[in-house]
Point group: C2
């Protein structure tokens, strides 16, 4: 198809498509004349993947380039490729100078990993992101929020089991890695949305009856 048709089919403006090609996110079309290129279904699918990572996943263009390079890299073992893909799509955290809170949080993360028997290194990027989040909680006076950690870890194990079961159903390595990337990025949004809905439900059940009084809730029963 021509670039104009791919633009109509995906809703991505032609100049934006050209920008993705220049940035190396999208392979160039096949030239059919010096000024004309043609694009196939693989281009369209890749374009939709880029948009999903941008719009819903909230990734930046540079991060998408790294992720797609991992997707396209042949000859890596499955676990290695999964490791690269998930390491690249780490939850956002600031690069922080080590301080007492971060040191304590890293220790807490190492203990959690050991306690759960998780087969991951303590310097896995997500472990650092987790430590940064715990340190940030401590700094804003909500260190006690870490009491939810075990409940969260139980839930994360269930979610990861569902994730891997989905991934395992994919046919080829390309498809498998793409499904990890898509599932990782969109799965975060999926879960965060479900968490909000479940929170709203819990909040309605716990607090709604106090609504008429307009005051502080009595929450002994929960």
């Amino acid at each position: 198809m021509r670039i104009g048709e791919m633009s109509r089919r995906t809703g991505v403006p032609v100049p934006t498509i050209k920008y993705y090609v220049r940035e190396g996110l999208l392979p160039p079309g096949r030239l059919t004349s010096p000024n004309q290129a043609t694009y196939d279904d693989a281009h369209e699918r890749r374009l939709r993947l880029i948009r999903a990572l941008l719009d819903v996943g909230g990734l930046k263009v540079a991060a998408i380039a790294d992720v797609l390079a991992a997707v396209d890299d042949p000859g890596k073992s499955v676990h290695k490729v999964l490791g690269v893909a998930t390491a690249l799509i780490v939850p956002k955290y600031a690069d922080e100078e080590a301080d007492a809170e971060l040191d304590a949080a890293r220790h807490e993360v190492r203990e959690l990993i050991a306690r759960r028997g998780w087969l991951v290194d303590g310097d896995f990027p997500a472990a650092e992101a987790l430590a940064a989040a715990l340190a940030a909680l401590e700094r804003v006076g909500h260190g006690a929020f870490s009491q939810v950690l075990e409940a969260y870890a139980d839930a994360a194990e269930q979610v990861a089991r569902a994730d891997l079961a989905y991934v395992a159903g994919r046919a080829g390595l390309d498809d498998l890695v793409e499904s990890v990337v898509v599932g990782t990025v969109l799965g975060d949004t999926l879960f965060a949305s479900l968490r909000r809905l479940a929170q709203a439900d819990r909040s309605a059940r716990v607090y709604e009856s106090d609504e008429s009084e307009g005051g502080m809730p009595g929450i002994e029963g929960d």
Copy 2:
């Protein structure tokens, strides 16, 4: 304390603190002379909250202003304030034109909410974010990923239960709302990090033994 001391204690540069005051994120200090203001512990705590929302939560300054306005708004019932706070911190999704995928996804979300008996409206912002994520999965050819939805929803209910239990332990309305905001934003990062760690663990268990063969995994047993 002087602004310089607050800067040293929090690691936030003085010009940045002044910027937050100009943007209305941080209340001005109390003037002790025409050119000198003094700040107290409440300022310091608010400043740390702003940095946590920015650095770890990844919120933009305008979103933080909205969230803090909700935190500071007195006389709202608890459930209403929680609703405002969680609605403002919705998972990122693009404003999309309605299309067949989005319509189908919205329908799927309404069915999910009904099936789980969740006390939330179908037009709750998180419901729209969930529909956007499902539509994006469909568009990139991974609509089948929605097979994880029930496992995710189970996990989300557990997490929300832990969240509300934490919130219920807070003393006053200010503190309660602040804990919702902090828990919502940092909780997303917390959970996403734990999900990566649990995925890495699952991946190691499922694929590591195939490592030596360098080929595609046989995953019948899972």
